[in-house]
Symmetry: C2
Subunit: 283 residues, 2 copies
């Protein structure tokens, strides 16, 4: 099965699912959306995110060659066992969830006929919902593909085609390695952003001028704090061990900084190394 | 003295000084730049950042009605006593430094004839240098004005005119309040960004895939780590007490988060409050 011949069902028409639908136009035989309300179905069709949208999971995935789960992680975890009896044998399941160990473990419990592979496109926005969706969201992004015992060669191939169709670059890695890496480069940044808003809110209680002086630096450092709350809660609850490792490393670094305030030469060197690393990563 | 009749000397033609010069075109009688090399002088004139640029502080400020110090904070601190004997009596001194307590203390030791007021425009970029300067940098920004015993009504009035000319909104507040506020909304975000790059670099030593997976979230949260290193070092060294207060508050918040990973309902509420606060501050 090639993507161009596949009927693709996308479960969840928020920012990620809606953008996936828009980006897939012309790259597959048909796009079906599964949403929660008749109103959302009408809206998804009106925006052209899918060819047709339904509110019932069973009818939405019955004809699918490829099912894409685009909901928060814990919803993905509850949908996978249901899909085992709803998808037709030979169909392929992929998800777009931000943590992978629990998801591929659930995929491995699917019935024999269903192939499955974990997916995680490294893109997003601090906004959410179908209204924010756009066909270019995935363009240029890394699309992690996380295989498991249910990942047939056909499933892996279809997943790579999917990544390519939306303009992303696929990168295969195992679930544990994925989850540790995103704890440091994604979940830790989120927690810093959210903690920063809490700390600022606490200090602003004593002096409202703090809010007035917050400028572009604060805006960007805190941007991720505005992320979808259900998505973030599910991520943190399904990646606890790696998130704790990242938080412990960050706490240790804060202790280092506090000591460096007494050692100007060492502080300067610490500032320089941070600047060098950041400029290497992002030109 | 009104700004339109004033000769304005800008000491330091980096991102902030260069942008100030560009923004002041047409708003004052003449713009003089003081830079470190003949080459930089030629470049400042070529870009139209000033009408004329010189490398000697004495000749650069001799005719000035308003001197604007646009260097890192510790350079400002070393320039202020020098300027006492170089500026003509009746002239006004303002600075653009990011911390204010030490600077206004130095201003208060100036000779009687020199009026002075602290300034801090809440804008910037993670890049630096004259090449990055642009006339719109100050547009829409808050421009903190920090009075001291040397701030005559004329100095305060000229400073407000300067802020308005570059498109900023002036906001008067005292040095201590300013320094505590920026510790939370500016210096803490910088330290989080820099510490994040150090933590990521440490974890990436074990697994180079971390760098590959770092995406827009990491990019924005770490943006301030690329800030000018001399500027940041001077800021941290001249605002230690408030920076330590902010770091201690952040450490306490990280401890809160680590406990919340065991309490999903409370974690959800913490995530929601962060989202609400961030969305209130930046629409």
């Amino acid at each position: 099965m090639r993507l161009k011949d596949a009927t693709v069902s996308i479960v969840g028409m928020g920012l990620m699912g809606g953008s996936m639908g828009l980006a897939l136009e012309g790259f597959c035989k048909a796009r079906v959306g599964v949403v929660r309300s008749a109103e959302a179905a009408k809206e998804a069709e009106r925006l052209g995110a899918v060819d047709c949208a339904v509110t019932e999971l069973a009818s939405g995935v019955a004809e699918a060659d490829l099912v894409v789960l685009a909901t928060p992680v814990r919803t993905i975890l509850s949908l996978i066992p249901e899909l085992g009896s709803l998808m037709r044998p030979g169909a392929v399941l992929i998800d777009l969830g931000s943590t992978k160990a629990e998801i591929v473990a659930a995929m491995e419990r699917l019935p024999d006929g269903i192939a499955a592979i974990g997916g995680h496109p490294m893109c997003g926005k601090e906004t959410s919902g179908l209204q924010e969706a756009n066909a270019d969201l995935y363009r240029g992004a890394i699309f992690a593909l996380v295989p498991c015992s249910r990942s047939t060669p056909e499933a892996a191939s279809l997943a790579r085609e999917l990544a390519q169709a939306v303009g992303a670059r696929s990168l295969a890695l195992d679930a544990e390695r994925h989850d540790r890496a995103v704890a440091f480069v994604s979940h830790l940044p989120y927690l810093l952003a959210a903690a920063l808003t809490h700390v600022e809110a606490g200090a602003a209680k004593d002096d409202s001028v703090l809010d007035k002086l917050a400028s572009s630096g604060f805006r960007d450092t805190s941007r991720l704090a505005a992320s979808d709350k259900n998505m973030m809660l599910d991520i943190l609850l399904t990646n606890r061990q790696a998130v704790e490792e990242a938080l412990a490393a960050f706490e240790a670094e804060i202790s280092v900084v506090r000591k460096l305030l007494d050692a100007p030469e060492d502080l300067k060197e610490w500032i320089e190394r941070a600047q060098g690393k950041r400029r290497t990563m992002f030109q």
